[in-house]
């Protein structure tokens, strides 16, 4: 659906060349919600703007729905843009126009007959739950409502791609969640491919199917949300994951244990899917001659699959611990020894 091939974007600033995008290769499939996460300045804004040609890459290719944008004329690109909706962090609505006129704008530009515009706009306002606001002006709406209008506008021309540029970053957590649910609904009901850029890992966790981590203009990690969250490889990805999945042993607990005897055998156990529902630890305690001490535990849902994370200290003879570990390790449970400075 969207494909970047060795995409580069170099800015000239004060005689210095800065690479915002430094050889991006990425494929976003039809119908998926794809998230790109990165710190500000990592290049994610440039990347999303290359999809609808708000920014022209220095080199490389952008292929959208089979069209190589680098090979198209300005006029042809305008046509491609009608097939791409975009939602912005600061909504970018026209304050001088009513909600109705804002949503109607892309249709007016496309010279759609008035009657049809009216019908379509009311459908869209219904869909985003703001049918009663048609005659309001944007400055009479809350942030969440403005973003819903922004989304309705982006969907006006029935695009097959929706770009979300930090669409929830200016909203409070509750509103963020409702906007994300709306995006999910759009994805499901209209089968629209959604590309989201964000610096909030919670956004990725909540709605994305796949995620790419961008840093210094390069994709440093890519995979399903489940894989990246359950086993991040790069430090940046680990940092992002830890912002939403707290899996550190709290310092106070660490201190208590170290005061007693020092942590001996500490393991991280990850549960996936059904295994998260099994009373694994109590089984282990009954079967083997060991004690355990849960230092940290939580369970989250990733793409509808439960994902548990336990940090446990085992106390007992080494041979028993070894057998217990063998017992625990099976397909949906992974166990890994961590140091007493549990990472």
């Amino acid at each position: 659906m969207i494909e970047f091939q060795n995409l580069k974007k170099v800015y000239e600033s004060g005689g210095q060349q800065v690479a915002a995008l430094d050889g991006i290769d990425l494929r976003i499939n039809k119908g998926e919600i794809f998230g790109v996460i990165g710190f500000s300045g990592a290049g994610k804004s440039s990347l999303i703007r290359c999809v609808n040609w708000l920014e022209k890459p220095t080199s490389g290719k952008v292929i959208v729905s089979g069209h190589d944008l680098t090979a198209l004329s300005v006029k042809e690109i305008r046509e491609v843009k009608r097939n791409i909706g975009m939602v912005f962090q600061h909504f970018n609505l026209l304050n001088s126009k009513t909600v109705f006129a804002n949503v109607a704008m892309p249709l007016t530009l496309a010279k759609i007959p008035k009657e049809e515009i009216k019908k379509r706009v009311h459908e869209l306002l219904d869909f985003v739950g703001l049918a009663d606001k048609a005659h309001s002006y944007p400055d009479q709406l809350s942030g969440g409502q403005k973003q819903r209008i922004g989304i309705a506008r982006a969907l006006a021309t029935q695009p097959s791609i929706l770009l979300c540029d930090e669409a929830t970053s200016a909203l409070d957590p509750q509103t963020t969640s409702s906007i994300l649910q709306l995006l999910k609904k759009i994805n499901k009901e209209y089968n629209i491919t959604i590309l989201i850029i964000t610096h909030e890992m919670s956004v990725i966790r909540e709605i994305c199917d796949r995620v790419a981590v961008i840093e210094a203009g390069k994709i440093i990690e890519e995979g399903t949300v489940f894989n990246v969250f359950s086993s991040p490889k790069t430090q940046t990805a680990k940092n992002f994951v830890s912002t939403v999945m707290n899996d550190q042993i709290p310092d106070s607990i660490k201190q208590v244990i170290e005061k007693q005897q020092g942590l001996q055998k500490v393991f991280r156990i990850n549960f996936v899917g059904n295994s998260a529902g099994q009373p694994l630890l109590s089984q282990v305690a009954k079967k083997f001659n060991i004690d355990f001490n849960v230092l940290f535990g939580n369970i989250t849902e990733l793409q509808g699959t439960p994902f548990g994370n336990l940090i446990v200290e085992f106390q007992g003879p080494d041979s028993e611990i070894k057998r217990a570990i063998q017992y625990i390790s099976h397909e949906q449970v992974s166990i890994k020894e961590v140091t007493s400075r549990a990472s």
């Binding site: 843009k81 001088s96 892309p106 530009l109 021309t157």
Partner: protein
Amino acid sequence: MLVNQEKIIEALIETVQMVAFSLLFSALIGLPLGILLVVTRKGHLLENTVVFNIINSIINIFRSVPFIILMVAIIPITRMIVGTSIGTAAAVVPLVFYAGPYIARLIENSLLEVDPGVIEAAEAMGATPGQIIIKFLIPEALSSLVLGFTIATIGLVGASAMAGAVGGGGLGDLAITYGYQRFDTTVMLITVAILVVMVQGLQSFGNILSKKIRRR
């Protein structure tokens, strides 16, 4: 008093005519120039450094010449256009040369205030540069544009009074020939009072209109 009521009304009508026509023509010149100044600047819709620099310098040159000198300097052009250099119609030409560049700057200012995000949204929708100007830039800046035009109109009222000094007619002419040169204080006061009322009225009208557009 050396003049009668009729003469004052006649002068008032001349002033209104001068201001109205010069406003019309200077808006016709200033509007496109102001828009070009915005869209041709770096990083904007139709970035074009050459066009920008040319328009920018021409406007600066006209804006730096004092009106009274401009008026005399362009007499040949006035003669070419109107056929004479004296009278109300002839005064409109220097007034347009004065107000056109001024309006261009005011429009430039207003349009630059428009949130770049709105323009980005327009580009994302596949709007052409023409559509962006007409359907996004101007409506978003309209309230501010109205205030700009109010300033320009009041500037023209002042300038038209000066045009009276070189035989342009109008209230300024009346004030100078009778009030100043013949020491008729009453005429002087009446003309000034009329001008004050005009300026007050125009400013209030502009404020109300601008506010109505902004709806706040």
